[in-house]
């Protein structure tokens, strides 16, 4: 090859790099390893990573069963090692899969259409707010305080330089957004209201009532959905204008927080302001059905600094996992799966309420609930950890007013005996019995 090119050594090809910047030494990184060593190294790390613990954590990352066909199919090289399907004739597999994904997400969220994916639920929510500003020509937002706190942080980062002032709407004793406060905060200059349902406390919001407040002022309603499985049994937010969803629950491993699968869904009339890739149906020269990436004039590779977003790479392969999951469970299975989540959670909340306060009881919940204890939840979790159980997420960090409360989550994979064991361990410090509590109101309602 050197002869063909007409050079003496490979180093000749690097002569454009000024000599003083050429690296004359080996990189100081670990030496080359054999495949067996690599596998060993990562297996060792897995052992240091809570392997074999049972967990009651949710809060935006949910442990559901992943049917094995998902990995069998997404590991096919034709999906795994292909690029963004810009060359449609050579990428119909990916394109048709995206079209089916968009269809199912639209159906599940009650929206007209959905995009091909966003990075995750947090960035999707931030992009939805920016989209609402473009649609309405307004530049302020009202955000629910019971939206995932890390989603709020991401929105703050994105909004900083977009000059989008935000107001926070608090929650009531039911854990739901405070409608009276919301009504006061939404004005004629409000681009959007952003809520989460089921919200960060696991409580299902009255989306219709919120939509009415927003729409009265010409404000768009964005609903963030972090627990996709809820859509199997909870009425979707049909009155919303944009749904910003995290689809991790649909067959995506917890993976220490990523990669996950954000997705935006919206009404047909807003599609040209939507960020992200879209697959659309068309025909070839012979009239045969095919699919292409479409409405690209919204995107950065065409519009550059005038694009709807700078997003390019998305979460395609993760969206394929979600797609296969939705196909496996389908019309009936998703509902049954959601019912199992509901039943486990109802049982667990009932068991906890015999020994501690289960907050926010006044509204329906899906698969998460908040437990307030007399003992510091961090101390309780340390005790549970000794039994290889990961307890609920202490809320103090995000909600100082809920200093002794933790967010617990059950899914279809949580067994009755896990619940009973955890409740028993929590009861050690609480010592209440069934008479003393049941579902109660929180000590103080936060704004």
């Amino acid at each position: 090859m050197l002869n063909a090119i007409g050079i003496h050594s490979v180093d000749d090809l690097f002569s454009p790099i000024p000599a003083e910047y050429r690296l004359a030494r080996d990189l100081a990184i670990p030496r080359q390893m054999a495949e067996s060593e690599i596998v060993d190294w990562f297996k060792q790390r897995a052992k240091e990573n809570g392997e074999g613990y049972t967990s009651f954590l949710g809060a935006g990352a949910y442990f559901h069963y992943r049917p094995v066909v998902i990995d069998a199919l997404v590991q096919r090289g034709e999906f795994l090692t292909s690029y963004t399907p810009y060359q449609a004739e050579f990428a119909q597999g990916t394109l048709q899969a995206i079209f089916e994904f968009q269809t199912m997400i639209s159906e599940l969220t009650g929206m007209d259409l959905a995009n091909a994916s966003m990075y995750d639920g947090s960035t999707g929510a931030a992009e939805a707010v920016m989209m609402a500003c473009r649609v309405t020509g307004r530049r302020s937002a009202v955000i629910a305080r019971n939206l995932h706190p890390e989603y709020r942080e991401v929105l703050n980062t994105y909004a900083t330089h977009q000059a989008i002032p935000q107001k926070l709407a608090g929650y009531t004793g039911s854990g739901q957004i405070d409608l009276k406060e919301l009504e006061k905060l939404v004005g004629d200059d409000t681009a959007c209201v952003l809520i989460q349902s089921p919200n960060f406390f696991g409580t299902i919001e009255d989306v219709e009532a919120i939509a009415e407040i927003a729409h009265k002022r010409g404000t768009l309603l964005i609903v963030s959905i972090a627990e996709a499985v809820s859509l199997g049994i909870v009425e979707p937010p049909r009155t919303a204008d944009i749904v910003a969803m995290e689809a991790q629950s649909f067959g995506v491993p917890l993976g220490f927080g990523g990669p996950y699968c954000g997705v935006l869904a919206t009404k047909e009339k807003f599609v040209r302001q939507m960020p992200g890739r879209l697959a659309g149906q068309t025909t070839d020269k012979n009239g045969k059905r095919g699919f292409v990436l479409t409405l690209a004039t919204r995107e950065q590779h065409i519009r550059r600094e005038k694009a709807t977003s700078n997003i390019c790479t998305n979460q395609a392969l993760v969206a394929l996992m979600v797609n296969i999951f939705m196909t496996v469970y389908g019309k009936v299975g998703l509902r049954e799966l959601a019912k199992h989540n509901l039943a486990k959670t109802a049982y667990a909340a009932d068991q906890f309420s015999r020994h501690a306060k289960v907050l926010f009881a006044g509204a329906p919940r899906f698969n998460e609930f908040v437990v307030e204890t007399s003992e510091d939840p961090y101390a309780i979790n340390s005790r549970l950890l000794g039994h290889k159980i990961v307890g609920g997420l202490p809320l103090k960090k995000f909600y100082p007013e809920l200093g002794h409360a933790a967010l617990w989550c059950c899914t279809e994979l949580t067994t009755r005996s896990m619940i009973d064991t955890a409740v028993g361990l929590v009861a050690e410090s609480e010592g209440r019995d069934s008479e003393s509590s049941k579902d109660a109101e929180p000590a103080e309602v936060a704004r």
Binding site: F79, T84, N156, L393
Partner: protein
Amino acid sequence: MNTKHMTRKATRHISQNEGLIFEKSSPGKAAWKLPPLDVPEVDTAKLLGKQERKDLGTMPEVSEIEIIRHFTRLSTWNYAIDLGMYPLGSCTMKYNPRVNEFVARVEGLANGHPYRAEKISQGALLVMKTLSDCLLEITGMDAITLQPAAGAQGELTGLLMVRAYHQSQGNARKKILIPDSAHGTNPATAATVGYAVENLKSNDRGMVDIAALAAQMNEDVAALMVTNPNTLGVFEQEIHKIAELMHAKGGLLYMDGANMNALVGKTRPGDFGVDVMHLNLHKTFSTPHGGGGPGSGPVAVKTILAPFLPTPVVITKPDGMLGFEYDRPQSVGRVRAFYGNFGMFIRALAYIFANGPDGLRQTTEDAVLNANYIRKGLEGVYDLPYSTPSMHEVVFSDKVQSKKGVRTMDLAKRLIDYGFHPYTTAFPLIVPGALMIEPTESEPLEELDLFIEAMKSIADEVEEDPQFVLDAPHNTRISRLDETAAARKPVLRWKPDPSVR
């Protein structure tokens, strides 16, 4: 059918037809099974009231074999690295090692919840720490965040830090300079961060014009975003002068690391004056593109920018345990929930382990060697608009072929018939009718020769029968698709045929 020019790589074979999954659905089919419920059943109407969903509409009902066949059939309609060379310029479509996929699925790493106590997350934290250390050594930078989900989000993160830095100096400044050869995400990102974009012209060698830069650089400029090697595959030979010019007026040098595959182990951006840069783990570090994602776009910075890194940052605590640091008052904040695309960190680190210092250097050398071999092989057949030496990719133009009315996209579509994925078309914008070719280090000589043979053969076809090339592809399941119609009346989801229901 013109078969005269068909090469050794591709031939036709049976391709299965397959409808949309919804068209196979019928009531009663199922591919799922839940275990018996071990807690009391609940009355959903009572629990949820008006919030209960009654119907899932047109969601499919299909059996497992139908699902396997459906997605397997779809997969066979895709081209992939696993099938052959994928010479998309600036996309670095290299081999995606299967050991990466295996270790990413090891129980414990795959099922680690992001909010688990640090005490039982040490394995994941060590993956992040080790990868961070390796990437810092590779780039010659001082501090890093792994949080950004992709290259474009890395750019966003980097520019947020640039802005925060200038703000801390008392003036956020107004604009970002971007060469006319830049990728579209660069200007789109600058706009997102609230900076005006000012275009910087390239010189006749395809590099940043130093005189133009000196003229345009002033105290309003926050940073220059430069890709190096740039999108022509040309190394910015005066990169240190560029850095000096920026620094002299208090500006910063941002490097888009999209083309880092030309540099790893041979030179380090931190050594030639770069202040902030992002990497694409899905390009340089072999994590799969997966049909468009997920990516991962770590951002590495010099010490002056370290206070502004997104939260949290991985640190080693006094007791030797790894943990997350959240209390960073000057941070730009969070750009993503949790810690980034962790699954990609595992894969990238496995790639670095599999290569080591020698392997990474050789990877870079082979990538540059392969690109130059193609350049030599096609010189004279296709127009080479810039004769400046190529690094890991080479950019030709359709100047010769367009005289016959055949443009780069047409040539690309014909390349499909020869069993190759097209190169990058119509980019960079400074080359009209660009053919941007990046073979990567993964391609054996035999595959490179087949590619050169195919490109030469297509050039011959343009001379003999341009219409045949204009009508390509001929051998795919479907012919050229009507993109205009797709955009004019968008059909973005399937709907049941009302006459059937």
